[in-house]
Symmetry: C2
Subunit: 251 residues, 2 copies
């Protein structure tokens, strides 16, 4: 999708074409790195691309380790799933984390905590099962969302704000930019989309994170990406969904 | 807890002292490695150990990156949380995965998928919130557990069985032992404890995984650990809880 279209892309990314989802965590890192990648499922089936190719990857027809779910990144013989695992790989390839094992591990640890937050945000609208529609689990969603807004989201956000402050306020890992900041900025956008009322209540306790998001979105390649048609909008089909009945007063 | 008690342990592990939980994934790797570790929260407060020390670690009073939740492994200046991140580190230190980036990444990917399965197993009894008792979310738990037993667990188990078969049937990653096998064996034990009736239904579709578990539990250091008082039993306070009303017919 980006980089030189004349030469074949280094990476193939496979993810649902109509939602940001967990694929967006990978896309943001690829864009920041200026890496050439083919966002396969977003190209038409007539070009030998599209969702059918992604489904073939998920059936293990591409060789390598069969993935259970997208996003999947293919880098030569490597077929990687799990966003945090893909990011760990991209980070070492594209200087998206400070060199050395300690920074790599700290970034992985934080990314996994961000992944936990994303999972809990998702489960506010799907507390019973992913095979059911939201409307089939609405009362349960309301109960879970209230606890998310009042307890869980503040816990995660307060933790990340504290990690940022302990690191000097500018960066989360090793006093320099890392891919984790892209994911944190995206999650803040997602939470603000899904829970605009609650987010207003959370704002005053996360000044550092809000400034981090601003700096992150101002990075030249990232800013260009956000302004491009490659950036997909949030909607009520993804992880972060705006259901006003779940957006309660954070109290 | 293990290894030479005369010299200081290389690692400090901090985890709740009364449940296997996610700490067990780390413990199994430490035991297989024959590493010396201090299971801090399981030693008495009178020795300057116990849960209060773990809580200090969680408040970030130990330096390093503050963790959000246990398990936490301290290795010199490294303070690591998130079981999959800790295991990624231990693997490279103790040959718990084949050398090279590909095997490390594939193990990480599988471990994160196992972590997703563990999370979903936990949420069968806590679908609404971790701050509520099971009894406060029992009807919701029954709905979620039925979908877990009939859809989610079979999906994860079928996936792992397929990965094993594709790799030749003996190992999950790089045709040799890796720490992921310890976690998979433990999760099978946990599922059999929590869902004995459903597990009987799952058995016939996972012959490879059941044999893998048997081989894993027969590894000398692991077998010695399982027979020791260091191994904590499952109970209704951990991730895998036996609530007969959730253990439905897998259909």
């Amino acid at each position: 999708m980006t980089g030189s279209q004349a030469s074949p892309a280094r990476y193939a990314l496979h993810y649902w074409p109509s939602i940001p989802g967990r694929g967006e965590l990978v896309r943001l890192a690829l864009e920041e790195a200026g890496a050439s990648y083919d966002d396969v499922a977003r190209r038409p089936a007539a070009e030998g691309a599209g969702v059918p190719v992604m489904l073939r990857v998920l059936r293990g027809e591409l060789g390598g380790l069969r993935p259970l779910a997208p996003p999947v990144l293919v880098d030569g013989e490597l077929v990687l799933a799990q966003a945090a695992c893909i990011l760990d790989h991209l980070a070492t390839q594209h200087d998206l984390v400070a060199p050395g094992p300690r920074a790599r591990l700290e970034a992985l640890q934080l990314q996994l905590t961000v992944a936990d937050l994303i999972g809990e945000a998702h489960d506010t609208h799907h507390p019973i099962g992913v095979s059911l529609h939201y409307e089939e689990q609405q009362p349960e969603a309301a109960r879970r969302a209230a606890l998310f807004v009042r307890e869980r989201a503040p816990k995660f956000l307060g933790y990340l704000e504290d990690v940022l402050a302990r690191g000097g306020g500018m960066h989360l890992v090793a006093a320099r930019f890392s891919y984790v900041e892209l994911s944190v900025a995206h999650v803040l956008d997602g939470l603000a989309y899904a829970f605009p009322r609650a987010f207003e209540g959370w704002r005053e306790s996360i000044p550092g994170l809000l400034a981090l998001r601003e700096r992150t979105w101002a990075r030249p390649r990232v800013a260009a990406y956000l302004a491009s048609p490659r950036r997909l909008p949030f909607s009520e089909h993804g992880i972060f969904r705006r259901y006003p009945e779940l957006d309660v007063d954070p109290g």
